[in-house]
């Protein structure tokens, strides 16, 4: 990229690109492959044209941040198609949390929990992941991992919930694909003793492994088997249980080797070679005779009696397959439960959690079946949550900014499609109708489709079969696109029937593990319940109505959505760059497809209906002032006012913008338009300026040339003159004589005098200046002197006053002293007199007392 492109590009993209502008874009994250860590955070940035440039940036882990600040429950929802990187993403998140939110203080306890949490994934992956054409480590199940934290933000435990395990993969795989990893780990990695204990055989002997031994480049199944066993140890899963798991797997494989033939004269199936069956029973701890009978002619309750119902070859094969799938599924569920037990050991109370959802994204294949319906239904609901959240964020910002805005609730946008699938009645949706059909004895896939068309024909999201190509049975318009569904075997898939005789046998198996696995057999849809085998009326199992796959899933999903709705959701969209499992290659078309499937484009559409671009007042003013010359008067002006004036000057339609408290909001495209205009204006001005610059440069050069021309002319003239004169004798004489003349000398003297005069003038000026300086100084000094004198005078006066005062005080003191002295002497006199009179009176009294008593008697006292 040249400097020019970089320069202009950097200017423009921040404002133009809706992805960058809309607030929710800041939460978007994409994992792209990196040499260092397998995956790094990246963001998708669309440039002009088709090229997508992926930029790396350092991503601040949003959810954890929110979590640590608000203690609000968080959820991280990873969606994307197969191979896009959801599982890797999830693992990174868990690794990060385990690292960051563990405390070294709680040494043993916490460390163990962390380790176990990190081992949970490899175990689940061994049993639930497989190689597909799109992804060598494709998760064939969805999961929601809840990590619980205490009030201080440390991990106290975790819980895993799984969804939609693709159990059919246990019994057959498409070309070039594998069954679940564990099969291969076991078959390649088991030692001799294990092989004989588990009755393991060579790859090619198993019918259920459609493609025999398939390896994954860059992986050794043997090593991974060892790792998986180690992981079990770390999780403290005891040997018997591990053995149990492996036995089930071997049994599942052996079930595929059971071969049925049609008996010659009847429909009854028979099993000529029971080696496989024997092995199965040995592994599962059941009796082979009972087992064989249960498969070939099970006892079924009809009304109140039991009847031995003969099975055809197809029915037997079907039952065995169903058994294999159910076994695998139960085992998987047991495994999840077991892991959860290990992860939930601590006694500490969980206060909040971070949940990570890793689930397949929207799937649209050529023809889609029940599994796709479930997945697409899930994604539809997640998308609704997405829209709702994003919309809330938008709305909150509008409110904060005081924007006048009449809103539409975008969450409801998807409701029609969701209703189409999940509504129980009024009119019933796809799942409800499917359930209904399952209860009806004579129902078939076809009758289901017909009923569906009848009930939902008018739903705008439903397209009836007549309008489609022949293959599809009906079509649903999801948010991501139109999906054709084929209803083959949907009733079966929904009911998922199982031979309940065998189930009972397994329930009573001599092997504790197996018995545990098959503990609940109440809700099994027996084969007899399957339409076509029974004769009348809806049947009940021993404990009430059976639960269909659809119902169970709807409930599971409902619980999940409730959980998610009470969290702060963070959406992570994983994008697969190409379908060739190649690093670094980006197929633009494919990426755009996914962006439409994962709702990013939907989200953009929604945002565009609002005011997706917003810019702070000051920035707006700075950037676009050039488009409104003279609109803002000189001097300081409030940012908001300035923008109001500018917008008025730009004459924008009032519907195209809203003015908030701190920003201006624009509809999609408005800012882009302003940017363009700005570019044009700037270019115009610059061009005009450049013309002036060129003019300047040219004129300067020209002036120089003119000077050169003049100079040249002078030189030429002189040269010409010289040439003319140099040989003229008179001229020579003249040049010799001239310097001797007084006249010429006079000129020189004049020059000299003038110089002298100049010098003297200079000197005089200097001296004058100096004089001025001195005068000034002298004035200053005399002023100071004056000041000092005055000060002195003042002091003297003060002193004189003080002196006077002192004299006065001294005189006063003297006076007072004299008075005091006087007083003292008077006092003395008085005292003397008092004494003297005292003596007299005493003497008188005595004489009175002695000589004149009758005097005192008459005197009152």
């Amino acid at each position: 990229m040249t400097d020019a492109d970089k320069f202009l590009y950097g200017d423009r993209s921040g404002i133009n690109d809706p992805l960058a502008q809309a607030d929710w874009a800041s939460k978007k994250l994409v994992w792209i492959p990196s040499e260092k860590q397998g995956y790094e955070a990246g963001s998708l940035k669309e440039e002009k044209g088709d090229e997508c440039v992926v930029e790396l940036f350092v991503y601040f882990f949003n959810p954890l941040f929110f979590f640590l600040t608000d203690r609000e429950d968080q959820s991280i929802l990873c969606t994307g198609e197969s191979g896009a990187g959801k599982t890797e993403n999830t693992k990174k998140v868990i690794q990060y949390l385990a690292h960051v939110a563990s405390s070294s203080k709680f040494k043993k306890d916490q460390g163990e929990l962390e380790k176990q949490l990190l081992q949970a994934n490899p175990i689940l992956e061994a049993f639930g992941n497989a190689k597909t054409v799109k992804n060598d480590n494709s998760s064939r199940f969805g999961k929601f991992i809840r990590i619980n934290f205490d009030v201080n933000g440390y991990i106290v435990g975790a819980n895993i919930e799984t969804y939609l395990l693709e159990k059919s993969r246990a019994i057959r795989q498409a070309k070039e694909e594998r069954a679940f990893h564990i099969f291969y780990y076991m078959l390649t990695g088991a030692g001799d003793k294990m092989r004989s204990d588990l009755c393991l055989e060579d790859y090619s002997k198993y019918r259920f492994l459609s493609n025999g031994k398939v390896t994954i480049p860059g992986q050794t199944d043997k090593e991974l088997f060892v790792e998986t066993m180690e992981a079990f140890n770390i999780m403290s899963i005891p040997e018997e249980e591990i053995n149990g798991l492996l036995k089930v797997i071997s049994a599942v494989l052996q079930l595929g080797n059971m071969v049925f033939k049609k008996e010659r004269n009847s429909d009854q199936a028979s099993m000529p070679d029971d080696t496989a069956a024997q092995k199965v029973c040995h592994l599962l701890g059941i009796n082979v005779t009972d087992f064989t009978r249960a498969i070939l002619s099970p006892r079924i309750k009809v009304g109140r009696d039991y009847v031995q119902k003969a099975q055809t070859q197809e029915q037997a094969e079907f039952a065995v397959e169903a058994l294999a799938k159910a076994s695998y599924e139960r085992m998987f569920r047991w495994l999840v439960m077991r892991i959860n037990k290990a992860l939930d050991k601590t006694k500490r109370q969980g206060a909040s959690f971070i949940g990570i959802l890793d689930i397949a994204g929207f799937e649209i294949f050529e023809l889609n079946s029940f599994e796709q319906l479930c997945i697409n239904y899930t994604n539809e609901k997640l998308q609704q949550l997405f829209n709702h959240t994003m919309f809330i964020l938008e709305q909150e910002e509008y409110q904060r900014e005081g924007i006048e805005w009449s809103f539409i609730d975008f969450g409801l946008d998807l409701q029609p499609c969701i209703d189409l699938i999940e509504k129980p009645n009024g009119p019933p949706g796809v799942l409800a109708l499917l359930d209904e059909e399952c209860w009806f004895p004579k129902a078939t896939d076809k009758t289901f489709v017909e009923k569906l068309a009848q009930e939902q024909g008018t739903n705008p999201k439903f397209v009836k079969p007549k309008k489609l190509k022949d293959d599809a049975d009906f079509c649903i318009i999801h948010y991501a696109g139109k999906v054709d569904y084929k209803a083959n075997e949907w009733l079966m898939k929904n009911m998922d029937p199982l031979n309940e005789c065998v189930a009972t046998l397994l329930n009573q198996s001599t092997d504790k593990f197996i018995g545990d696995l098959w503990r609940d057999v109440d809700r099994i849809v027996g084969l007899d319940k399957v339409a076509g085998m029974a004769d009348s009326g809806p049947f009940k199992t021993r404990k009430g109505m059976f639960r269909t796959v659809g119902q169970l899933y709807k409930e599971q999903l409902g619980n999940l959505m409730t959980t998610l709705r009470n969290t702060n959701p963070n959406f992570v969209r994983c994008i697969i760059p190409n379908h060739e499992k190649k690093a670094g290659k980006l197929d633009a078309h494919l990426v755009l497809d996914q962006l439409s499937c994962n709702g990013v484009l939907e989200g953009i559409r929604i945002c565009r209906q609002g005011f997706p671009n917003r810019i702070v007042f000051q920035e707006f003013r700075q950037r676009y002032e050039i488009l409104t010359p003279n609109a803002i008067p000189k001097g300081f002006m409030d940012g908001k006012q300035a923008c109001v004036l500018m917008i008025k000057a730009l004459e924008l339609d009032p519907n195209l913008y809203r003015i908030g408290q701190s920003k201006v909001f624009f509809r999609a495209g408005v800012l882009a338009h302003l940017e363009e205009e700005r570019d044009l204006k700037i270019t115009d001005v610059i061009m005009s300026f450049q013309a002036w610059c060129r003019g300047y440069v040219a004129r300067k050069a020209f002036a120089k040339r003119q000077q050169q021309l003049t100079a040249m002319k002078v030189i030429q003239r002189n040269c010409a003159a010289y040439l003319k004169l140099r040989n003229w004798k008179w001229w020579r004489l003249f040049t010799k004589v001239k310097p001797l003349l007084q006249v010429s000398r006079q000129e020189e003297e004049m020059l000299a005098k003038e110089e002298e005069l100049l010098k003297v003038k200079e000197k005089q000026i200097q001296v004058e200046e100096q004089l001025k300086e001195f005068e000034a100084k002298q004035q200053q000094l005399s002023a100071e002197k004056q000041a000092l004198q005055e000060q002195l005078h003042a002091e003297t006066e003060l002193c004189a006053e003080a002196e006077e005062m002192r004299a006065r005080l001294a005189a006063r003191k003297q006076e007072l002293e004299e008075i005091l002295h006087d007083m003292e002497s008077r006092l003395e006199e008085e005292e003397e007199r008092a004494e003297a009179s005292d003596g007299e009176s005493h003497h008188r009294r005595q004489t009175e007392e002695n000589g004149g008593r009758h005097h005192s008697a008459g005197r009152p006292e």
Partner: protein
């Protein structure tokens, strides 16, 4: 329009550009002559007047004074619409800190990558002695300086 005095000047200027001596100047000198005579045409305008010549034409085709005059007249009649304020505003866009100066280096990039890109020689001649010790240019003074010649 009477501009006999200018005409004389014009003729002299014209003559100054004639390097060949045939009383003509090459196409690629026309713009500069106009500028020397006080005009500020953009290259686009000049090219339009010359009938959008090829690079070959620009170097080899020549025109005499009488042919040049009407072209000059056209340019005189359609002066630059922008003025001092506009240029200052235009350059203010690149004033990142809003303090009245732009980086000399940035101005160089702007002039050499936007609009009618200028070459290094032209820019050097333009900016000689304009940058201060930090490499910044007070663009208002700069524009005034440019427009004063």
């Amino acid at each position: 329009i009477e501009f006999s005095a200018d005409q004389v000047d014009g003729k002299e200027a014209f003559g100054l550009f004639d390097r060949v001596g045939d009383n003509k100047v090459a196409y690629n000198q026309i713009a500069d002559i106009m500028r020397a005579l006080g005009q500020n045409p953009t290259n686009k305008e000049v090219n339009k007047l010359l009938g959008n010549p090829t690079p070959d034409d620009m170097a080899n085709k020549r025109v005499e004074f009488e042919g040049f005059l009407p072209m000059l007249q056209t340019i005189i009649n359609s002066p630059n619409k922008a003025g001092f304020e506009d240029y200052v505003e235009g350059l203010r866009v690149f004033d990142k800190e809003g303090n009245g100066t732009v980086m000399g280096a940035e101005l160089r990039i702007v002039l050499s990558t936007l609009g009618e890109k200028m070459n290094e020689t032209e820019i050097d001649a333009l900016m000689a002695g304009q940058e201060d010790e930090n490499g910044c240019i007070n663009y208002e003074a700069f524009v005034k300086h440019i427009m004063s010649v």
